[in-house]
Symmetry: C2
Subunit: 225 residues, 2 copies
């Protein structure tokens, strides 16, 4: 027997991919509210427990919905996860996209570092969501890494290489420069528990020190000669 007819009674607002209708703007106010609540709850749970560690019950509870109601909006746990990653992908790549050829190269890169550090402070759950995923081999986003992400990084690596060739920044491997920026900034979100366990900071005070340190680190390493 077929899973679900194309059109029948009680058909939930689910697309073929299992995602709640995203672009097809026809969303009820109720859908708007619940889908948003689900994705927010899913971010909380997935980022804190990883895909396999998260349970539908946890997500449902966090979203103040019953489990069957959850599955009315998304047809499976996988579907929620996919929708969440997909929703956050743009946010995630945005900072690197803004790295542009205008302006002083060293300033431009330091500005990128600061933006990434801000994101680690303001959106730590989003960072941990991707961290969980990648640490375990990126099973759900390998295609994105090897496709759009690689393309974007290749493009920016070219830019950095050009800056180096023009003598406007020091000669460094652009790929490893980008990796180091990701590592040092996301560290404050992904390894938050360790950072706080060691520093025991009041609030987010340590982010200011981190900003100062990273500014020094990259400015000295990138300034030519």
């Amino acid at each position: 027997m077929e899973r679900r007819a194309v059109k029948d009674f009680g058909s939930p607002p689910i697309t073929e991919t299992g995602m709640a209708m995203p672009e097809t703007a026809a969303r009820t106010r109720i859908q708007e509210k619940n889908i948003s609540a689900i994705l927010n709850a899913a971010l909380e749970v997935f980022s804190g427990a990883g895909f396999r560690g998260a349970t539908l019950d946890q997500i449902a509870r966090a979203a103040s919905l019953s489990k069957p109601n959850l599955l009315y909006y998304f047809k499976s746990k996988e579907a929620i996860h996919r929708a969440l990653l997909s929703e956050l992908l743009d946010t995630w790549l945005a900072p690197l996209r803004t790295l542009d050829s205008g302006g002083e190269p060293v300033d431009e890169i330091v500005r990128y570092v600061m933006r990434k550090l801000d994101m680690a402070r303001e959106l730590p759950r989003e960072s941990r969501l991707f961290a969980n995923e990648i640490v375990q081999g990126a099973p759900h986003i390998l295609d994105i890494i090897e496709g759009p992400l690689k393309a974007l990084v290749d493009e920016k690596a070219s830019l950095i290489r050009k800056w180096a060739a023009e003598g406007r920044i020091a000669e460094v491997d652009p790929y490893h420069l980008i990796f180091s920026i990701w590592a040092t900034t996301q560290h404050y979100a992904d390894f938050d528990a360790q950072v706080r366990g060691i520093l025991r900071p009041e609030r987010d005070r340590h982010f200011d020190d981190a900003a100062r340190f990273l500014t020094h680190l990259y400015r000295t390493a990138l300034t030519p000669d």
Copy 2:
């Protein structure tokens, strides 16, 4: 009814903590072999799936044992995890311990970076084991972080600060310097999937480029004036 009498027939070689007898040297050759196989299998599975994502069946299969036989050596999944973390803790802290006041400070720190990078290449599973744990809030090792690890980092931070005060390295925040070293080196183990997806390197060739980049990064940033 009591869980298990202190001494009875069929009592497995399990200590109060649920760990297989570690220091009490009285281990059979069979115990030696199986416990080692279990811990190796557990490292493989836990590092790839996280604590909750790992199953006893997976670990048992990887160790070529039946599940009940697994539980003959360790009384629970938690116990295996604890034993594993405990076994690897020293390995994990060893590089930082070797940071000593002898030698030229900049060289000493760069040497530490290289050692950490070597570990990321040679022991990526161990790195990911801890990464998984910490990303999810370090529930099983928070006490270690706040205790022995913090103490060790505090000690080394003092040393670095002294070096800075003596003008032998640049004035940088020692804690954030250490965090950045952890982040940049462990990145190649923890985010291996992403690094390889973007670089598509042959074998581990990219580690040489990483070593060059990190050497430049820290040498320029730490050399005084």
